[in-house]
């Protein structure tokens, strides 16, 4: 898969799935900008592990829900590398995946939904707005938005989180319809429960077992499992695909 010297931005790239994606691109010879909000130390650790593969990598701070910060981050990357070829929208607002501690619908307030929509959709919007003009100018680019398989099968109804991620799917498809004219592709990758990550550490062993038991490939995902489909959608191997969702959940969702 030729991703050599591609310039990639991974939002929320310091830990968990984002860090695994950043390393996977670096392994393919890509230059990776690792976005983080607060945890500079973790971002730098990811950058160091990316550089071990020989390519360029840089930590870039920005709260993706803040337009100014995103613009500053993009300008910084453009100043360093000229442009971006690939953007992975992976950042999301911290959410504890705790099936026992989750709020039932009756206890959810509109604010809970708004927080998630802002955390997820606003970030995707700002980042996409800031990188699209230069992708349009060079008539190429691939954007991959990380969503969740819960949008198709709410194994646990994390209402506000999954609703926000569903909005990202709508966002993706509309944008794909418009940006096809510029040769820019936008797709989604929808992982199942990924363990271990900071967010999933609240998910008890018994729940993970139960999901694994229902999964054709008999286990839940690791952060590394998510990287292959992301790389595929970022590369020319998927050059005639846009507006799609790839489920990475061991066959739990089939569609």
């Amino acid at each position: 898969m030729d991703l050599k010297s591609q310039r990639v931005l991974v939002t929320g790239g310091s830990r968990g799935i984002g860090a695994a994606i950043a390393r996977a691109f670096a392994r393919q010879g890509a230059a990776v900008a690792v976005n983080y909000r607060e945890n500079r130390e973790a971002a730098e650790a990811t950058v160091r592990s990316c550089r071990q593969f020989g390519g360029d990598a840089l930590p870039v701070q920005a709260d993706v829900t803040d337009e100014q910060e995103v613009r500053r981050m993009s300008e910084h990357i453009f100043a360093e590398w000229g442009a971006l070829d690939v953007v992975i929208n992976n950042a999301f607002r911290p959410y504890p995946f705790d099936p026992e501690g989750r709020k039932p619908f009756s206890r959810l307030e509109w604010k809970d939904y708004r927080d998630q929509l802002e955390g997820v959709l606003t970030g995707v919007y700002h980042v996409t707005q800031s990188v699209l003009p230069q992708m349009q100018a060079k008539k190429s680019g691939s954007i991959v938005n990380i969503v969740t398989d819960l949008i198709a099968r709410p194994t646990v109804p994390y209402h506000e989180y999954t609703t926000a991620k569903s909005a990202v799917v709508g966002f993706t498809r509309n944008l794909a319809a418009e940006m096809g004219a510029y040769g820019i592709r936008i797709n989604c990758v929808a992982p199942g429960l990924v363990y271990p990550t900071d967010s999933s550490r609240h998910t008890k062993e018994s729940i993970r077992e139960a999901i694994a038991d229902q999964t054709p490939l008999r286990r839940i995902a690791t952060p590394e499992d998510v990287t292959g489909p992301v790389l595929f959608l970022a590369s020319d191997y998927s050059r005639f695909m846009t507006g799609q969702i790839l489920y990475v959940d061991g066959g739990l969702v089939m569609s």
Partner: protein, 486 residues
């Protein structure tokens, strides 16, 4: 920055009154150091006196239910994942033992759960019928009275890296209210000391009836001294180690050796259909992967019955896939050069057997952290396996044949996991019981013995005490001497 942790627990003996042995543990690029207290002979003698004296003043007078309550409070702390000691366990044990963090976390919770109050009470009732006999003479059904007398000093020699083992020992010793001195295993020197610290938070006086230290295994003068003082010595290790220990124990001291043993599993044809097999396989793979077969209860062989919807060969292949999954969920620990040698030898033998004909198959090889050998001729030359997730799947026409097949391993058998119908399970239990198997459980439970199990077929607590009888004749003979006798 390198992290340090201090092992052991040595009441009455100061920091400077022991020597410190340093051990380095490395796992996944992380390096940590542990210092283990090593008392000299004089120090050891002092520890003996201190724990014995403390027992006399603070432990011997507690009732068994008071002791149960304190152990319960201690494990409640250790079940709390936010307790500083529990956090240290979860942080350190993966590096020290090499076991996956999830194995450590779930294993700690599972073993702590067996030491909560209801489980302890059941265990005591199991071994003594009436646990009050630990406190005073209790009437016997057929006349007379019996009381269980605790050993004044119990010595433990631990080995291996399964963190639950020292807990079983220390809790048993506490239940019978004995003073205890334990020698840590170099493969896992921390758990026993942490348990003593947790106990100290609950009851410092009780904790000071325990000592946890280390010395070079086989150190004759230290061991002779200690065994001379002990009333009971309990030891884990290979038969050679145990024989060496035995040679240093006075004949008047009770010796409880726990040698290497292994487990096996039986899968009936009724479990081999597409609807049930997934659950059986998941549990089977779990029993193999947890503790990398280091436990005496871990399965080495799966006897799988022909005649089900799925064949034993298909079972072997599907088990291989489940073990592959286990590697992602619970990665195997890094093997030592000696273990790699044993691993290569076993696998080479399995590969050769597979090349000889259709009756054998080998699923393993480079880049795999597990190995499955399949055979259908009754060849047991691959048993026991080389450990570390190597299993033999052996096809049988009828599970009834298994008893005959395992007879040569009689002295080394322990747990049998069974997946079969209720009636057959009990029939098989009868047959297996005669072959040397001492524990029968469900698949998925092989590495988690239930509270009060008869470890290697012995009543664990009862083996520690001395039963004193007051015979009916004494009662009768005393009557005429009473002032009110007429």
């Amino acid at each position: 920055m390198e992290m340090w942790e201090t092992a052991g627990y040595h009441p009455g003996l100061g920091e400077t009154e022991v020597q410190w042995r340093e051990q380095t543990f490395e796992q996944g690029g992380e390096r940590r150091r542990v210092r283990v207290p090593v008392p000299d002979e004089k120090g050891l003698q002092r520890l003996v006196e201190v724990v014995r004296k403390n027992r006399q003043t603070d432990l011997a007078s507690l009732s068994v239910s008071e002791v149960v309550h304190r152990i319960d409070q201690t494990v409640e702390r250790l079940l709390d994942r936010n307790h500083p000691l529990r956090r240290r366990m979860e942080d350190w044990l993966p590096v020290v033992t090499g076991l996956a963090p999830d194995v450590i976390r779930t294993g700690l919770t599972a073993s702590m759960k067996t030491f909560r109050k209801p489980q302890l009470l059941r265990w005591l009732a199991e071994d003594f019928g009436n646990p009050a006999m630990l406190d005073s003479f209790q009437p016997r059904v057929n006349g007379g009275f019996t009381r269980a007398i605790s050993p004044h000093l119990l010595v433990h020699i631990w080995s291996g890296n399964v963190p639950g083992i020292p807990l079983w020992s220390l809790v048993s010793g506490l239940l019978v209210r004995s003073a205890q001195i334990g020698k840590v295993a170099s493969a896992e020197p921390l758990m026993a000391g942490w348990f003593a610290q947790a106990l100290e938070e609950v009851d410092p006086k009780l904790a000071r009836c325990l000592a946890v230290v280390g010395w070079q295994g086989g150190d004759e003068s230290r061991e002779r001294l200690l065994f001379q003082e002990a009333e009971v010595v309990s030891a884990y290790g290979s038969n050679e180690t145990l024989e060496a220990i035995q040679s240093r124990i006075p004949v008047t001291t009770r010796f409880l050796p726990h040698g290497h043993r292994f487990g096996l599993a039986l899968v009936g044809k009724e479990a081999l259909n597409p609807a049930r097999v997934a659950d059986v396989l998941r549990k089977a793979a779990r029993d193999v992967a947890i503790y990398d077969q280091q436990g005496c209860y871990s399965p080495h062989c799966f006897y799988v019955e022909k005649g089900g919807v799925l064949s034993p060969r298909q079972f072997a292949r599907m088990l291989a896939h489940e073990l592959d999954i286990m590697q992602i969920r619970y990665p195997r620990r890094t093997l030592s050069p000696r273990e790699i040698g044993e691993w290569n030898r076993w696998n080479q033998q399995a590969e050769w057997r597979a090349l000889e004909g259709e009756e054998a198959e080998w699923i393993g090889g480079d880049g795999r952290f597990w190995s499955v050998a399949y055979e259908e001729t009754g060849d047991a030359s691959l048993l026991p396996t080389c450990l570390n997730r190597a299993v033999l799947v052996s096809a049988v026409n009828d599970l009834e044949e298994v008893a005959g097949r395992i007879a040569p391993f009689r002295a080394y058998l322990q747990t049998a996991g069974i997946a079969a119908s209720s009636r057959r399970m009990f029939q098989l239990a009868d047959r297996l019981a005669e072959t040397g198997i001492t524990r029968i459980c469900a698949l998925g439970h092989m590495t988690v013995p239930s509270s009060g199990w008869h470890h290697d077929g012995r009543p664990v607590l009862k083996d520690l005490v001395r039963l004193v009888d007051v015979e009916p004749s004494a009662e009768v003979a005393a009557e005429p001497h009473n002032p009110y006798s007429e």
